[in-house]
Structure formats: C-alpha cells, structure tokens
C-alpha cells in the first residue's frame, strides 16, 4: 500500500466524540444557527462512558431546600478545592437547565406530588439524584435514548466510525481535525472554525478500568498540537468495580451491593475497611490498595464486598425492586450465589479529571479549540462524588457548544500550516507501512503494566515515578516508532485503530506520571508516599505543555472567587 485517499469537509463547528458532552454540544451549537458536524470513533449512541451509566447517577439540585449553591459547595468540598470555581459555578446552573431539557425530552423521571423522587449518594448535603420509573441499571440507556433522539430529530449530521487522531494546527490556533474513516480506511480532513473535543477520558490507559476504549484521544491530540493541559495527576478510580467472579471484571454492578444493601468492604481477615481507616486513606480506593499492598487483600487482589449481614429475603426484595438486573441473571447462570460467595472488588479507572485547561466558556485558550466533558480539566478538582461526573460533563458540552456556535458566526476559517495535514496523515499511516515491529496490543499491555507498576494509587513516590517516566520515554522513542499493524486491510481494521489509540495512551501515560511527580503532596486519590499530607501551599494546578520533545511544567495558583477553602 503506498497512498491513502483523503477526503475533505468544511464545517462551522466540529464536535469530536458523541458521548453525553458531545451530543449536548452539538444540540447547543446548532441552536446558534451554524453548520454542525458530530463525529464518533464508534457506533453513534452506543459508545461513550456516560451512555451506560449504571444506577441513577445524575446529580441535580432540583428539589428545594437543595440548591445550586449547596451543590456547588459539595462539589468543591469533595474536589479538595482544586476545581475551577468560575467554571463549576456556571456548570451547576447549567445542570438545572439541561435537566429540564432531559425531562422535556422524555427521560422517565419518578415524581410524587410534582417533586422528583431523589436518592442520596455519599457526599450530598441533600438527596440529589433523581430516580427514574425504570430500574437504575437502565438509567444510562434512558439518557442515551433521549439525547440520540434529539440528534435525529434536529437532523444533526453525524459521522460514525471516524477516529480523529490529530488536530490541525495553524500559526496561532486550531483549524479543524484529521481522522481515519474506519469503514473505508481513508483519511478525512475536516476544516472547522471551531472544534470541540468531547472525546472522553483516558482511563483506558490503565489495565484495570471500566472503560478500555477511553484512550485519551482528545487530550493526547491536544497535547501534540501544543495545547495547555492541567490536573493530569487527578482521576477517579471506582472502588466498587468487580474483579471476581472473573467474567465480570471491570463492571460496576457491585455499587448496588454498596449503596442499596449497605455492603461491607472487608479485607482477608474480615476487618471492615471503612472502620479501620481514618484520614486521607479512608477513601475506599486507597484503603483497598493499602490492604492489598500489605498482603491483606482478597484472594484476587482487592477486597470483599459482603452483603451477608442482610437477610436473604431483604436482598431478594431489593433485587426484585430493581427488576432482577441482567448482571444478576448472568451470575445466577454461572451458579454464583452472591450471598454465600462474597464478591471481590478493586479500584478501576473510571473518570479522568485532567485534560485541556479550559476557562468558564470551556475554551482552551488555543484559538478555535474547546474541550468538554472529560477532555476538559478542573471541573471536579481532585476527587468527586458518585453521580456528579455525568451532569458536569453534560453541562460542559452545553456551554462549549453554545459558545463555539456564537464565535463561529463571527469568523472565517483558520488557515492550516502548509504541509501539516500531510505530516499528520503520514504519521498515522506509519504502522500500516511497516512489515515488522511491535504489535499495538503488545505495546498497550506494556504501557498498562508501567502505569500499574509506577503510577498506581499506592506507591507513588519520587523514585518510582521517575523510573516509570524513563520507561515511558524509552517506549516513545523506540517501540512506538516501530509499531507495526500486521493486518493490511483498509476496511474496519481494528489493529490500525488500536495503533492510533496506543500512541495516545503512551502520551497520556507520560503526562500522568509527569504531573504526579510534580505534585509533592497528597490530595484526592493522588497519594504520595513521600509527601503523605494535603498541603495548603499546593492549592495550585500542575500545568503541562509540549515543548519540542520535552514537557514544560509550571504551576498556577487556584483562585477562590466564590468560596474559600476551610482554614484547617
């Protein structure tokens, strides 16, 4: 194969990624009366993290006495005041608006006497998660259906199976993006006045993850294009992710055991971890990792989540109320008794908090580029409460879409740097032209091992992070340059897609380790063995930017325009 065809498109606003942030961005941008294109690397409405959120999972302060102000304060408290307050303040009011849209668009909320029936998840001052009239495990699907229906109803143009691998840089900004059309095996060059990255997070760079396809595609592309990034050391690792029984690895159904059946988190000795730990290590992901490291983990490397203290009738009642969920039927088919045989859980990468640095309009500071959802940083700060990521990401999409639409009306297309598109396409094609080299999947496993070994929750210290960084930079110089796609088919070539993902994972892994090494304190789930305390002097962002082959590291103080952090 010598050459690959290139198609060209030109739009006002390009939205990359069709999860909850991307879809909302597309709807809002179109309402500004501009020409919108929504692209996704998978099948439309079937990809993205939020679309299969299990449990009700959408915090909105829609029932007084709860209020946006209280929701704002709760978000900052759990975020350890690392959030961008101007951004979050706008997001929280936007959530109210988006929730009204969802209600109007047919999400089946459960109401009594005109009020939403709310459940309360940890960290909420008031019950803030509206229940639906359907079982909780279908909630993500309910949101997905309502949103995709709007895209169809509004005739928003969608391109599926398009893997956007790079942004097209101009002298002072971004002129659009270039992607691989997986169905045809050709490149698509999209010129856009405004581009919104709604590509999701990068937790697929970890071996234990709930979302393997989240390979930080937007964050990595932005980094290569010279966009400023921040908060990469922060992420959420969901403690109640199944690791046993084996075929359910990476699934988050055990949250039902925790929240509906008051499941107890136990180590090998039967000690209750929530009683055992105090201080910063009390958060379940850190407590579990600490126990595993000390040799007191459950047999498969996590903790037990036991519901034995409940009566079987009570457990059956809860499952019946949930409509006997699919995961339960599958466990029953495997003859796994969830009461008698304790399940095991371990923290798995679920939500990224770091990405492109954005302002309160979700603009990146690089002309022509916005970031929404997990591709944008500082929405949740250092940590989050269950059920807060989905609405915050959706609100970012709305704000980015509206602002990008407004700006697109007032300007012309940016002019790409000469030869830039060809250079980007040649790089993406490289692994296809090579006859020998490392297979993408092998390289993915290697990078995941490095992150697990050197950047895991427990065990981050100066020496290990430095070693991990050396290993990643070695891989970027050698194996990554030699990566080879053994399959040469153009049509729907999964190995080629994986090669593009692996390049992103490598960049993201380097960014995570760099940021984690720079932050010399512990905060949220970023826990440094050598700096175990949260320090007031570290209320600043670690800011990263590409500088040739190096990463330029600076810090920027967090500002507190609305709410100051408590004194102690």
């Amino acid at each position: 194969m010598s050459t690959i065809g290139k198609d060209h498109l030109s739009v006002d606003v390009l939205i990359v990624g069709a999860g909850v942030a991307g879809i909302t961005a597309a709807i809002e941008a179109q309402q500004q009366g501009v020409d919108v294109l929504l692209v996704t690397k998978g099948a439309f409405g079937r990809d993205g993290a939020a679309t299969w959120t299990s449990g009700y999972g959408f915090q909105v302060a829609a029932n007084p006495p709860d209020s946006p102000e209280i929701h704002f304060a709760d978000t900052l408290k759990v975020g350890r005041f690392m959030n961008d307050q101007r951004l979050v303040h706008r997001l929280i009011s936007e959530i109210i608006r988006q929730h009204r849209n969802l209600d109007e668009w047919g999400v089946r909320y459960l109401k009594e006497n005109g009020r939403y029936v709310m459940m309360r998840l940890p960290g909420e001052s008031h019950p803030r998660v509206p229940r639906l009239t359907i079982p909780g495990e279908w909630a993500g699907q309910e949101y997905r259906r309502s949103l995709t229906r709007q895209v169809k109803k509004r005739s928003i143009r969608v391109i599926e199976d398009l893997f956007v691998f790079d942004l097209i840089a101009t002298r002072d900004g971004i002129a659009g993006a270039v992607g691989l059309d997986l169905r045809k095996g050709t490149f698509l060059v999209i010129q856009a006045k405004e581009t919104i990255l709604a590509t999701g997070g990068h937790m697929g760079s970890y071996r234990t993850t709930t979302i393997p396809q989240a390979s930080g595609d937007g964050t990595a592309a932005a980094f290569r294009a010279g966009v400023t990034l921040t908060d990469l050391e922060f992420a959420d690792f969901y403690a109640y992710t199944a690791i046993w029984p084996p075929v359910t690895v990476g699934e988050i159904w055990p949250s039902v055991f925790r929240y509906e059946l008051n499941g107890k988190l136990l180590n090998r000795l039967g000690e209750d971890l929530r009683e055992k730990y105090r201080g910063p290590e009390r958060v379940p992901p850190l407590a579990i990792e600490r126990e595993v490291k000390a040799g007191r983990g459950s047999p498969h490397g996590g903790a037990y989540l036991s519901i034995r203290h409940n009566l079987r009738e009570e457990i059956d009642r809860v499952f019946a109320r949930m409509g006997h969920p699919k995961w339960l039927k599958r466990l029953q088919a495997m003859r796994f008794d969830v009461v008698e045989q304790d399940i095991e859980v371990a923290p798995a990468g679920i939500v990224s908090f770091g990405g492109c640095r954005v302002d309160e309009n979700c603009a990146t500071g690089t002309l022509g580029l916005f970031a929404a959802g997990e591709a944008g940083a500082s929405r949740e700060g250092a940590y989050t409460n269950a059920g807060n990521s989905l609405p915050l990401c959706m609100a970012m999409g709305a704000i980015a879409g509206r602002e990008a639409g407004r700006r697109a009306k007032k300007q012309n297309h940016h002019i790409p740097v000469n030869g830039k598109v060809e250079e980007l396409c040649d790089r993406a094609l490289g692994p296809m032209l090579r006859d020998r080299g490392v297979r993408p999947i092998q390289l993915r496993r290697t990078i995941q091992e490095i992150l697990a070994g050197y950047g895991s929750l427990i065990g981050r210290n100066e020496q290990r992070l430095t070693e991990g960084l050396e290993k990643i930079s070695q891989i970027k110089k050698s194996d990554l340059e030699d990566m080879c796609v053994t399959v040469k088919d153009k049509t729907f070539n999964l190995e080629w897609r994986e090669a593009l993902e692996v390049r992103n994972i490598a960049d993201v892994a380097e960014l995570i380790l760099t940021a984690a090494r720079a932050r010399k304190e512990s905060r949220g789930l970023h826990y440094r063995e050598d700096f175990p305390k949260e320090e007031k002097s570290w209320l600043k962002h670690v800011v990263l930017k590409k500088d040739g082959e190096k990463i330029d590291i600076t810090t920027e103080p967090v500002t507190f325009p609305y709410l100051s952090p408590p004194e102690s």
Binding site: W52, E251, R330, R439, I441, T491, F492
Partner: protein, 107 residues
C-alpha cells in the same frame, strides 16, 4: 484457569477483497464461564487480528455486540461460550461492513 476450549467458526467477508463469504475456524482457550465476546477478543489478540467486530459497553446495553450465535441473535458480551460455536453477523436489521461488524442505523 484457562482450561476450557471452544471451537469457534467465524463468518468472514471483506468486501475489499472477497467475492464470497466464508467461514474460518479457530481454537480458543478460555476460563470457565467466558463469554462469546471473550472468545472474539482472544482471536484478535492471539490468533488473527484481521477479524472485524464491534463491542462497547460489555454489559448488555449498547447493542454493539449483537451477532448471531449458533443461529440465534444474541449479545456476545452476555452469552456464555459453548464448546462449539458458529458466529455470524446480524445482518437482518443492519448493513454489513466487514466480517462481524455491521452498521446499525435504527434503534
């Protein structure tokens, strides 16, 4: 605990190069209670990365991995692997792209 084996017959067709569809058979080693999707992932990782298929959520919601398993439509992420299996694309409602990967337009 990889002590189970399945013989998996996969429907193959690449519109780029093939005139007719054909079946290719693979021997897959897996854990007890592995799913049909686990078998496809094993084929991709260890035997033949040229097989095209789709999946996303892995918990039976997104419908990406709907295929025809031993003549019956089903989610490969939920269905437990059998000793002998034939996997074909679901093309009654969706348009074929390649092998087991299809284009669902309706919902």
């Amino acid at each position: 605990m990889v002590n189970n084996t399945s013989i998996v017959k996969v429907w193959r067709f690449n519109p780029e190069t093939d005139r007719e569809p054909y079946y290719k058979t693979y021997e897959v080693h897996h854990e007890e209670n592995a799913t049909v999707l686990d078998c496809l992932n094993y084929i991709y990782e260890y035997l033949d990365p040229s097989v095209s298929y789709r999946y996303a959520c892995k918990i039976g919601f997104c419908v990406s991995c709907l295929m025809v398993i031993n003549g019956k439509p089903g989610f490969t992420c939920l269905k437990i692997a059998e000793k002998e299996m034939t996997i074909e694309p679901q093309i009654k409602k969706a348009k074929l792209i390649k092998d087991l990967a299809t284009d669902f337009q309706d919902d």
